[in-house]
Symmetry: D2
């Protein structure tokens, strides 16, 4: 790659652009994780995370990745051989299912087309059909990072309620937390899985669980051998501000700052910002004459947009050209979408001009890679951003632009 | 101002966006400025600056600003009452002239319209008319930061040669160095004035002089009282890697990294990048139907573009709206241009997508501020960037975009 | 605590003082973990770690802690119900044993007094007695962080060889790696467990395994359910420079710098430095008239020194006073040593003057906390440091000090 | 130099060890120096500096060094040919005097032995003898960085009052500000000169003036040509939060944090801390059997201690050995003290254990360099530190140490 001036545009759907204030916070000297300053830090981040998860339940922070948090959700609540209900919403749903199988669960896996979210009616049917209550957990991905499709968790919970089924509800919010409205307690979610490097605007290195009392009760019966991921010791130690083993100190420094930023902006504002950027992106995609992977309007992700390449064009060749020419990283197609889609991340620490730069890079890249398209996508996004900025600023609709 | 997510766009024509690698370098612990490691640092940055100035002459680095470097140029080479030739190219030329007068020089100030550069013919006439050789120095601004007009220094030198006049040639390269081609030795410049916070991609805090042997000889005769700005002690100490008083250590750390980046990209590539971004910006301005302040095609600055506001619209109200709505700082109109122009900085650590974001912000801001304009400026810039990126990538012209 | 000026002294035996160059490296923007720059980073750190482990085997880097690396060693190589041989060398040996039991292993746990290392003769006897070869692994802690006792791994291996037993040898080097000489291949260790925040001079957040071919073969038979900690996918992905799930990007930046520092100093010099600081510390302790926990001269740790408090004095009250008065964190007594010992960490990024400050803080703290002792410990350490520095500088023994 | 592990000990009397929180603050992105956030920053640092200078007068912050602030004091208040009274207290007093002469002042220079401060009786005599009131300013160095001698400014003012002389009082506080008690308003100082890199705990790059109304009135009559250093434009612009030319943005970020730290610790505590460390250092020097340069007990500097080398021993050879062996920078002998003294800086961001490390390094260096001395200096300092820490902690005198 030729020398690149200026800032890299990291527009994969996570890891996201980390605010420089967070990066600087992480560069503070490591401190004693058994000392009084550390105890204050622990409590502060645990409290802040609770607000972000919208839960009064328990929050567990592991040194690890989101994949580790998936494993923690399983091994704390279930036993080998348990039956769980999962949905093929995309690559990450597949990976979680494969993990469940590797660990010895029996997965009832509802097939999908990777362009739609979880069908709440199927949830209800499956649970209603489970007269013996053998399904121990419903495990769904809130926002499929591989497809840009967001499932409606409120509807899933409603379906479970209609079926009056006691299964646990476990939700992966890896690319939705702090980007797309998520309400753990309102939706009675039992285990929420998440991580640091998406909406929380940190580098990777923390896996998160938020845990309901019902999940905690399940943990007391769960039969999986477990040690690292055990909630019990975590929660017991956290109460005093400590951890049963050495936590990822410097990421916690960053987390403290990131939480402060999110709560200062206000979660509702954060969600509205992501919604608006996602809508602007979709307008660009449509103006280019390209197809959005997500089929249903109600399921569009506000974190990322996956775009189908025209037949005969390789998405990764396109992405490579964008990286070479414009120093922007776009998300690759994963699993069976390899080469067929590229993904635009528009989550995390982001704003209108970064989005304008991002969409401009896509548009120029399409030209450079000779991908058939119409120009004007970036312009369509701009028009939408300007119009809504006008509205947000409390001004009347513009009449000046010719 | 409402909470702002994402990166601020610092698009004033300096201070410019500092690369994060430079910022991190500056965060290294301060060291002994009389020790061996420091001596190596000194030599490294002095050598690198010579390459950037394109001179084999002497380079002086002051803790100070570009304004200090202006003063240093004067007090080292001239005497109170000396006559100098200066040109009213804009606000900074005015300020330098006012400084010259405050210090007691007699300034022959050629008036200008703030939309043109130095007229080499006038230089020749003035010098030719100076039979007594009373003009001690011709002092010009290479790139007027207040107007976006670049004077052609090679032409100025040619005019001086034609007049066979022995005056010193002093050039302010504050917003051109490392952005616009500048050739100190080839153009026989005697004193070059510059600073850290523009093309050198550092925070403010360093004033620079590059000095010819002729200027150094003049310094031995110069009558101004001076101490802080004296070159003699600086050069003598620098030879061993040290300074006559405490240098701005941590800025020098950053300078070392910034010079490495510039030389790694290659100065010709740096200049071509700035030229290309400036042309794209002008295409945007014209597409908006707005007027560029600079009158002549051959004098457009590659560092910044000053744009005239339509009559009845205040440039600062527009800038404030852009800052509020899009978290971008644009340059204000200075001196007699106050309220009449805004300036877009496109220099320093910058790339295509940052420029796309910048121009998008201007376009949306024009809409928001109800400034009469046509949409499509950002799009026009994109088209030019894409076409030239294509050429740079060695591809044939595109035929795919509809 | 009153306001504290100056640098905190982090003299727990890990996390250790992180070099500021490592902290700054970690503050670089997060990049795409599927891009070409990342692939280079991966290979660089994996290669560097191999040199530090002194192995040509396989290295695995987990987002996690050392505790996670313990678990990974177990679940990759063994099956529930397997029998393993472990030794009660201290608190961390106990914790590893408890983990093994939680996960379902049958542990033959050789009791110990927490003041001695692994007895190689017992290893030989136990293995010799295991005619059915039911012991699948010998699991030992190289350097007991809770006691400051280092077991001799070469002797353990020799004992296993004498017994001609096929058990795997697994070694925890959490507080020895890059501090105390460790030779994975020479000692035919099968799994080495380590982490980032001790001799590797990073913040916590990485768990490490180094894996022999024999261990890898065992992994193919191992019966534990596992997913996050599976070596197979890690090694397969690492070959191309990638990871099966998102790695802890910014810690890897720091790791690259830390490895460069260690290899630049030279591992033998690193070990010699730790040995010398440990000897100086022991001289101080003896001069104070206090007792070192470690019983045998040949087993003293070079990473840390655990000091017994005189009867009737609480080690934690002493530590708290040192923290209050001198802003230094010392290690607490763990498990059954709670209140009975304090631990002085002298590992990682450390030098003579930091050690002098550390021992001075201990000495002043003893006075402040009214712990019976003789003064002069810090002085005794200084004398040793000066004498050996003299020797290292190639000077004859001094005769000047009176 | 061999590879050095651990933290460098920067124990020159400035630049001092910069707190890492200040370094990290300086690594924040540069912002628009004409924008609203910057205006807040300006006011905050100007206010904080006023508190540190203990003045309700005017504070001016230049991009520059302390040397620049010397020049600013002169050119703003005086005219070429003016007569001033200065005192040969050491190297920096000499340099300031040389600057005054270079700029054209007539200096009445009271000779000194570089081991004593300003003699207030001489001030009174000189002023009393100046019947024509031709002395325009008394210019003194509060703390001579080259000698470790602090002049008593209150006594100088009292002498001036007794003489009822209208001369301005200008004081260099470069190495005393924020380290040694200084009371600008109480002592009716007219111009205080200072800089960033000593007690203010920043890297070099800021020159400071604090200015009384009387000095400001003098500025209106002063005849020196001046531009960069003019107070008038500075003060006028500062009122709105701005600067007449580009300020050193990122150093101001650091200054904001450093001021917060100083005011949080409390100036009285800051001074007491420096006094205590200076006394401990002197006890060490005396225990070594070496001679302190400063002759009078009442004039010992709390920022640094200059130590005379025994005859026949070169201070710089000793310093070099300390740097090589222990990675500590000590201050060199300046001017006529070259080779004869070394200086120990104990100012800025510092604490007991850093001092213990520092003195240990000196003691070991003396041994290594075969400088005749008694051991036990570091121990003597420790005894004093422990005893006073005990008192500060409100404990009775110790009886435990044997």
């Amino acid at each position: 790659m030729a020398y690149q001036s200026g800032r890299h545009f990291l527009q994969i759907p996570g890891p996201t652009n980390v605010p420089e204030a967070v990066l600087r916070a992480m560069a503070a000297p490591t401190i004693d994780h058994r000392g009084p300053d550390f105890a204050r830090l622990t409590r502060e981040v645990i409290d802040g995370l609770g607000a972000v998860f919208k839960t009064r339940g328990h929050v567990v922070v592991f040194p690890g990745s989101g994949t580790g948090a998936w494993e923690a959700a399983i091994v704390n609540t279930l036993s080998p051989g348990d039956r769980v209900l999962m949905f093929e919403t995309g690559h990450f749903a597949m990976l979680w299912k494969q993990m469940a199988e590797k660990l010895g669960l029996e997965v009832d896996f509802v097939p999908g087309d990777w362009r739609s979210g979880v069908d709440a009616d199927v949830v209800e049917q499956k649970l209603a059909a489970d007269g013996e209550r053998s399904i121990k957990a419903v495990m769904v991905v809130h926002n499929e990072t591989s497809t840009g499709v967001a499932s409606r968790i409120g509807d899933v919970r409603a379906a479970m309620s209609r079926a009056a089924h006691p299964a646990l509800l476990m939700v992966d919010t890896i690319s939705s937390l702090a980007s797309i409205d998520y309400r753990m307690d309102e939706w009675e979610v039992d285990v929420t899985v998440s991580c640091s490097q998406k909406g929380l605007m940190l580098p990777p290195g923390l896996g998160l669980n938020a845990v309901s009392d019902k999940a905690l009760a399940a943990a007391r019966q769960a039969g999986f051998p477990r040690s690292y991921w055990r909630w019990e010791e975590m929660l017991a130690n956290n109460r005093a501000g400590f951890f049963p083993y050495t936590p990822a100190t410097n990421l916690l420094y960053g987390l403290r700052v990131a939480l402060k930023m999110l709560l200062e902006e206000g979660l509702d504002n954060v969600f509205a910002r992501h919604d608006r950027h996602a809508e602007a992106t979709r307008r660009a995609v449509r103006a280019w004459g390209l197809e959005i992977l997500c089929r249903q309007e109600a399921e569009h992700s506000s974190s990322l947009t996956a775009v189908l390449m025209p037949a005969g064009h390789d998405a990764d060749a396109f992405r490579e050209r964008v990286l070479e020419a414009f120093d922007m990283s776009l998300g690759t197609g994963l699993g069976r979408l390899k080469g067929k889609v590229f993904r635009i991340g528009h989550l995390g620490d982001f704003n209108d001009l970064m989005l304008a730069g991002t969409l401009s890079g896509v548009e120029m890249g399409l030209a450079l890679a000779d991908v058939p398209h119409r120009t004007g996508g970036a312009g369509a996004a701009l028009a939408y951003l300007a119009e809504t900025a006008r509205r947000d600023a409390g001004l009347a609709a513009s009449a000046t632009a010719a």
